[in-house]
Subunit: 361 residues, 2 copies
Amino acid sequence: MVKQDQKKLLKEFGVKIAEQVQRGKNPEIVLPLRNLSNIVYDKKSKTLKLGSKKGTRSFFNVAHAKKFLQTVEIASIVKRELIETGKHEHLRGVFYIAKRTIPGTNVNIVDDQVESDKIIEDLEVITGLSREQMHVSANKMGSMIGNITLIDSGDTIDCSRLGKGGYSVPSITDELEFKKIQAKYVLYMEKAAIFERLNEDKFWQKNNCILVTSQGQTTRGIRRLLQRLSEESDLPIYVLVDNDPWGWYIYSVVKYGSIALAHASERLTIPNVRLLGITCDDVNKYDLKKQLIKLNDQDTTRLKQISEYEWFKDNKEWQRQFKMMKEANGKVEIQALATRGISFISETYLPEKIRNKEFLD
Amino acid sequence: MVKQDQKKLLKEFGVKIAEQVQRGKNPEIVLPLRNLSNIVYDKKSKTLKLGSKKGTRSFFNVAHAKKFLQTVEIASIVKRELIETGKHEHLRGVFYIAKRTIPGTNVNIVDDQVESDKIIEDLEVITGLSREQMHVSANKMGSMIGNITLIDSGDTIDCSRLGKGGYSVPSITDELEFKKIQAKYVLYMEKAAIFERLNEDKFWQKNNCILVTSQGQTTRGIRRLLQRLSEESDLPIYVLVDNDPWGWYIYSVVKYGSIALAHASERLTIPNVRLLGITCDDVNKYDLKKQLIKLNDQDTTRLKQISEYEWFKDNKEWQRQFKMMKEANGKVEIQALATRGISFISETYLPEKIRNKEFLD
C-alpha cells in the first residue's frame, strides 16, 4: 500500500464528517462493534472475525461526544504527524501527542493511554488500515536468523551472517522486503533461550530454515512477519511452545486470531501454521514424564477454556491432547528436553519430528 | 580468557575437595558471604563489592550437605557439559540438567531454579569466573545500531546497515569482538520505543554514535556490552531513562552495581557512565510540567531509598534532583517529549543536552 492510499482513506473519514456538518446534520461515525457479542469464528477462513453488528458514535450525544472527539483528533494526528511526514510513533507517543487540554476547559482529550489505544483500534475498523499502516508501533520484541535476506529501510540484511545475536525484529514488519529466501520452513518458538540453543548448534544451517523468536506472547510485528513469510513465500511455519495451556494459547492466537484483535485477523492470522510441540505424546515418547510440573488452578481453568474454543471443539487430535494433559495433570517446558542432553533438541527431537511430519493442526 | 583457564579454575575447585577427602578430612567449601551484611560500597572503585566475611559449606553438616552437593554437581555440569563442549546453556536448562534424583533416594539435587541460580552465583565467587565465562546464559534482550562493526561467532556485522531492526544483542556479550568503531559515544536507553524513534530519525548517523536499548531493567549482557565499549574503546556512555525513581535506579545499577550482583561488579559496572536525562531541570526547561504524573506510594518509597544510597548521599547534584522530584511530587516519561513534536527528542533535546554537556554524574 502506498502512502497516498493511507492518506486517502483517512481523508475520506474526515470528509464524511465534514459533509454531515455542512448539511446541518448531527455528525456520526458508524463502526462495527468490537465487543464479545460481535465476534464470530468464521469457519470458511478459519479465523476470528467481527460480525455484522454496527454501532454509532454521534457528536451531539453526551455519552458519545468525548469518544467522537478522540476519534477525530487521533485520526488527524495519524494523518498529519505520521502519514504525511512518513514517520512512525509508538502507541505511548500517540497518547502524549493527543493528551492536550481542550482550550477554555480543564478537560484533556485523553487522560489514559488505554483510551488512545482503543481509538487506534477503532480507526483500524473504520478506515480498513492496520495500526501499522497508520505508522503506529508498539514495543519491539524478538529476533530472527537463518537463510533469508531482507531489505529493511534500504539496508540489505543477510540473516545468515548475524552471529549469535541475529536480526532484531522491528515493531512494524509490514515494510520489510524479502529479497532472497533459501529456507524450506520457519521455526517459530516462544523462548529466546531455545533460539540461542538452536543458533549455537547451527540448526538453521544444517536444516535450511529460518528461526524466529519472541519472548512469551507473540507481538503483532512477529505475527505479521510470520504471516508474510507464509503467504508471500509459501513457507511452512512450525510453532514450538511449552506443553502447557499458555503455550497452546500462543499457537491458537497465531493460527486463529484473538478476541481483542479479531478485527485485524486478516493481517495477522496464519491458517496454515502447525504445532510442532511440545505435545503430550512427546512427553511420553521422549521420556519427559519425570519433568512434569503439576498443573495449578489457573492452568486447569485455562486448559478447560481452550478446550472449549470453537476451533478446537470438534478437533479430535486436539481434544485428545487436552484430555491427556488433564489426566497427567502436568505440564512440561521446552527446556526440559535438556535433561536428555543439551543438544538433544537440535540433534534428535526437532529433526525427528519434522522428518516424520509429526504436527498438530 | 581462553577455554583452558576456565577449565583450570573449575578443576582447581574440584581438586581442593578431592584432596580434603583423600586426607580424610570433612570436605568444605569456603566462599565470601553474599548477604547484605557483607556488601560494601567501595569508595575507591566507586562500586558495590563483597566485603571480607567468609562462610563455610561443609559436607558432614546436615544444614550444609545439600548445598555442598549442589555446588559440586553444578560445577561438574559446567565443566563437563559447557566448557569442555564449548556450548552455552540458559539458567533454566542448567536447572533441568541438575534436576535429577539422587540414586537410591527420592530426593532431587535441585527442586527449583532458584536453587541452581544461587549456586551459579556462588560458583562465580568461588572460581572467579563470571556466569558468562561459565557459558551460562539468561534471557536475551535488547538491540544495538550505529557506527560499530563487530565480529560475532565469525560473522562480521556492520551495525550501521541493519535497517530499522538493528542487531539483536545476545545474552552473552563477552565473546563479541569490536572490529571497527567510528562512533564518538554510546547512548543507552531503557525504552525500545525511543530507540526506534531515534533510529528512524537517523540520529546515530547525524550524531555519529551507537544506540543501545533493552526493555526496562538492564540485562547482564547489555551491562557487559556497555562496560566493554567504555573500557576497551574508551567511549563515553550516556544513559537516557524516565524521570522517575525506577529510571534512576537503572542508572544507579549500571554505574555502581546492585546488591544481588555485588560479587560481579568488576565485570558489570561502568563508573564513567553519565545520566543524560530526563532530569528535573529538563522538566522545567523543556516545558514538560503539564506531563507530570503524580508519584504513587511505591514511587515515593523508592525515591527515599535511592536518595539514601551511600553513593548518592553526599552528591549535591543528585540530592538536588531528589528534592526537586519530591517537591514536584511528579514524574515524567521520556515519551512525554513527543508533546513537543515527534522528533523533538532527536532534533532538539538530545543534541542540546550533549552539546552543552548537561550530564549528571
